[in-house]
């Protein structure tokens, strides 16, 4: 298997580990290790799914510039998964984690910084402007609005359900971050 096939194939199917057991009620806390995806976050699932689906629909063609806005994790995933199709552009508020910015650049992504005080919204506005300027040779992935985003996490939910079925256990509560698509895991 060549390196890029390996990286793509190793997205998803992350381990489920037990973290805590509350002594008082013997309630167990389990965690899905999305940080073990190739770029170090759950966002790998998003761009693998989105790019493959859009290619299948004929929307994306090799050589196009793929754009998205990100605080960093999504940018790394877009750049790694998209790197087979020409280069990617990532718009990102300045002043966030330096290692995430370095990772995007290291994968060959082109990084455009926006003022930090404008937040993700400012980065999104800039990404929209950039896509208009580049026109048909580019595509804005629009991670906060695209239905491909929640769709991409279906596999994560299925993996969790399968693991619990195999252990013959029921899931009583699912705790996840509020900001984004990840709720769709459920």
């Amino acid at each position: 298997m060549n390196a890029s096939d390996y990286l793509l194939a190793s997205i998803g199917e992350t381990p489920l580990i037990e973290l805590d057991t509350l002594a008082s009620t013997r309630t167990r806390i389990w965690a899905k290790c999305e940080f073990l995806n190739p770029t170090g976050s759950h966002k790998d699932r998003l761009y693998k799914h989105a790019i493959e689906k859009l290619e299948g629909q004929g929307v994306l063609k090799p050589g196009m510039t793929l754009i998205d806005y990100s605080s960093g994790n999504a940018g790394a995933s877009l750049t790694l998964v998209g790197s087979m199709k020409g280069y990617n552009t990532v718009v990102r508020p300045a002043g966030l984690s330096r290692a995430k910015a370095a990772q995007i650049v290291a994968y060959g992504g082109k990084l455009i910084l926006t003022e930090q005080r404008l937040g993700v919204q400012g980065a999104r506005d800039e990404a929209v402007r950039l896509q208009r300027r580049l026109g048909q040779k580019s595509y804005l992935m629009y991670q906060t609005h695209s239905s491909l985003n929640p769709e991409a996490y279906g596999t994560c939910g299925e993996e969790i359900v399968r693991a619990f079925q195999e252990m013959d256990r029921l899931i009583d509560a699912f705790v996840c971050q509020s900001a984004l698509e990840a709720l769709s895991v459920a």
Binding site: F35, G40, N149, C176, S178
Partner: protein
Amino acid sequence: MVAVEIQEAAVLRQSPSPRSQPRRHHIEGLSTGEIYPVTETELIDRVLGCSELDAIRTQRELLTRKKVLVGPSSGASLHASRLIAAELPENSNVITILWDAGWKYFAEMRLPKAIESGLATAKFL
């Protein structure tokens, strides 16, 4: 279904006016100041707030106690999971997600003292 947000920048429990200035905080990827169209809020049964401090404390505890090196949003998720676990009946199962890797935040992170002193005394062979 429990959603976690950063207490200092909550949007699900108190809606700010659209596109208001997002409150700055240090937990990247959470509570960016708006509710996105891809967030399926109808799925949420309950919203819990986690303070920045609890998120970072829990992140650090995972590192030092379990050697699991993840980012602060994972700390927030585990913190909320513990709050929920404490309310549930015997032998329940709570599941959460560890979102991203901790090395992504090393440049900004104040490292535990043991790591700092280990780095300070490291020598070339």
